[in-house]
Symmetry: D2
Subunit: 306 residues, 4 copies
């Protein structure tokens, strides 16, 4: 039997000191957050374990760009699966734009007239689409030579000079990036626009599956780390399902709920029934805003010397 | 000024009689649900208005298959955007399997051993994958001749005889189906498996964009109806964004929340800032379990004679 | 094994016909809602079963007044536990005021200046406090003779002529009303105001406990029905805990979540560990907006002839 | 215009260094959390500002006892309003019991047989009720001489020697404690049990209102800090409503939602319409698990030298 040990703060604490105290509580949200750090530490430290990072949600307009890049730069993850929106949001900053601190209780008609695209209380400058056009125009020959989504993503990353960019760092570190629904994004729109004007590019909708499943199949062990749900989570879970080695370590940060039956809110444990997760794995679901979870987790991992 | 009129039930009420009473309350969840029916009625009745239906979440394991098919069969919608999971779940029933009524608080290891894939409290028989294999084997020549995702989806539908199937009805009624992340599904796995064994199929990841944007571009008016968020919602919103005619009517059924900044939980009103929604549109966000919302909405629409 | 039977709607359905179809689905939200009606039917029909109804949340500004009164008038419940806010909201309508259909995205300063007290998108006229003052002034002698909270509540109800009033109907049907936190309400303010001006009233903070626990103790069987959580739910659960007969039937409608550890979001099943709920009871937690759940449930029960 | 500055962590960070970086993001959850610390700092530092702390939820079984006691010991708050459950949970630890780290997915019948009362994944030993009985027996003469709830609470605190106890510290620091629904708790049960056996105690249900409203009325300024909603939040808001000085600073940590209309989920801004909050106040609603929010906020405040 272990007992709840109440957190006592009587001096300046570092992030990891706090996370460690939370682990002594062991229950509710703080216990789960601490357990998430432990499980992530285990999967990162284990050289035989491939770490699959699935990320959805407006993390870059929410200030998490350096943290996500940090996971890449520090070799914390081996595979990155994300949404077209995240890649577009990252590219927009790499092209020199920034997200503005705004409000959610505003007149959206006024924002429209000012060219500010709202994501809750963060605004993206609509003018960024013009720079996206120029960027795709400039590198179109190289982009249109790509045959797979992940090849295109790396190619885009290779053209960037922004050292904080997720795209740039994935390219530089040769971390495979999967984005099955890339058509559903600003990047997709750039490709649509060119195809509509008669330009050619042939990217297969299914070829990336082979690459991610190969990694899952050939890994000695695997761990999963999910921020939000959606396609990124499910695409990794699916790779686990068809691989002989199930995921034995898992961390999920979510604000969705299991009781409505969707994949985004499903507990990691549910994946056992499908053959996605290992029967004796260590999993934790953390019900927490990812813009708060990510800095705490990354800060704690760095402080542990990873 | 309008006042809240409390619902009074002193006789047997039909669904639409109840929804109408909810409209007299006008506030909170019941007011929103009633307003959703009114807005849907308006978009369906207006012959100039194209209705885009975006659906995510485990609706078919949740018993909503006939309702979704009903929306298709009754010409309530002009475009259907969904997840690969929904298409796979539908196909599995068309191949003769059924979802089992289960529990969520179970031993997932035992379920795994029994071949039951759990989605909250609904179980899918894992054996269904074998029939999927046979089905894809049988029709591979035709499937592999498809060049677009929406063509493949219709081709799959054309092979089914199940009159309740969403796939069958979309094919029969020639309702375009978009599924940008189809690789992320059981159907995707069937294609991956064949490609991995050297079979050929070339489906472009971006070509469907042209089709949905064309429909949005050439519509005199448009309306949107979202169940859940994810790629289906965003893919429609994106088509609206690049079209000159913004969506003037919108209904969203969601259990997600706006305050975490993601697209799934974003209010329809937020879309105004992006140029996705019309400045003077009628929109309603309904915070409700879709397995309860869908039968009420569909039942009310049918009763209104639509 | 029971299978999910998809809802098919091809004719005008009554509320209970729909709820019955939802029961054939058996899973997710619609399955739970249908099960809730079955469990409520069982507890209401069983003459040996005392039904404890705990209700929190702004149900009267949300249009649920007649439904709640209906539960009382129709002898569906034996004990009513609620918040001071609900009693005050009911009294305000009994005094001739109404709730206005408003908006949630408004300038609250403007509302303040117009004397409109906002509850999400429903407004209460601030002037109602003046009528509350008059009402308490008029009947103060009688009110101040009460020794228990439940006696005061009945006394208030006895002065009303509004046949739709919850207070009036509880008095008329002699349904005991418990409201442990009555001080935390507009009614509480009326009493505070008079005490502050030197008037006398002595109402014991603990005496009502005896009455509710007596009812729980002497019941052959008991059932619980919770709308929202808070004090009303916990006060009933506590009465069950100290009684030899635990609650064997339970329905909870909630939008709260279990994972944060509070009583409001706790599953009914958790009550077994405390000795509040019976080991073999039938319980269901329904995750649903109560302004949608209540009319559906009440309508179905009425249609079943209860 | 201020822009989102992405958090960069390249060295060991203290809690407040992280919170300060979150403030530079300025949007979404992390921006709100940082703003909460700033607003709390302002209300604590301002000697003219009375700080009203309303706390609901199972914070003590969740490991937050020392943090809550810390807010009291450090003179961060002037008034404490809580639930009977929190006071009982605190008393149980003061009597020598501890909360056990458990699981939520367990057989509650087994827990019942082992005498473990579950709150999500934290267990309370049911035997604690025996010590509560002894404690109330021992001090009954003094307890039964109390005429107000807040006097009883201080009296209980005066009998404790546990320096980490919330009850002990409120007594020692002479921080008024309000608990309108104290009957709804284990402490309430102890009093009920004695009254049922013929012992006498007369505690008025309304007298405490005078005390809290007096503090609100005579404060030059006031600030509010809410953890969870329920009666504690509403009881403070009500005191603000009837006082001439509205609350100009406010922080709310909640996992509830505004759209269902209840007081617990209502935004602080809504309080402006009621005359509870100041027209030009600084308020922030933080959507966050309180077991994560509290240590971060308290740690940051301490590090700032408060």
């Amino acid at each position: 039997m272990r007992y709840v040990e109440h957190i006592k703060i009587n001096r300046k604490l570092s992030i990891n000191e706090l996370i460690t105290l939370m682990g002594k509580i062991g229950v509710m949200g703080c216990g789960r957050l601490s357990r998430a750090v432990d499980i992530l530490e285990e999967m990162i430290k284990d050289k035989d374990c491939k770490v699959f990072f699935g990320q959805a949600g407006a993390m870059i307009p929410g200030g998490m760009r350096n943290i996500i890049s940090g996971f890449i730069k520090d070799d914390f993850v081996d595979v990155f699966v994300t949404t077209g929106a995240t890649l577009t949001h990252d590219l927009i900053e790499a092209l020199g734009y920034r997200y503005e601190i705004g409000r959610y209780d505003v007149d959206d008609v006024k924002l429209y007239k000012k060219g500010k695209d709202r994501m809750w209380d963060s605004y993206m400058p609509n003018k960024a689409y013009e720079s996206l056009e120029d960027f795709f125009e400039k590198y179109w020959d190289e982009f249109s030579s790509c045959k797979k989504i992940n090849a295109l993503v790396w190619k885009i990353g290779s053209k960037l000079k922004d050292k904080n960019s997720v795209l740039f760092n994935c390219y530089k570190k040769k971390i495979p990036v999967f984005c099955p629904a890339i058509a559903d994004s600003g990047i997709g729109l750039m490709i649509w626009g060119r195809k509509a004007r008669g330009k050619k590019i042939f990217i297969d909708a299914f070829d990336d599956m082979n690459d991610i499943i190969d990694i899952a199949w050939t890994s000695k062990k695997s761990g999963v780390f999910y921020i939000g749900g959606g396609v990124p989570k499910n695409f990794i879970q699916q790779a686990m399902q068809v691989s002989p080695k199930k995921s034995g370590l898992g961390v999920q940060i979510t604000t969705d709920k299991a009781e409505f039956g969707g994949s985004s809110g499903a507990s990691l444990k549910e994946g056992i029934s499908w053959g996605k997760m290992s029967h004796k794995g260590k999993f934790v679901d953390v019900y927490l805003d990812a813009t708060i979870a990510l800095p705490l987790i990354y800060g704690a991992l760095k402080e542990k010397g990873l």
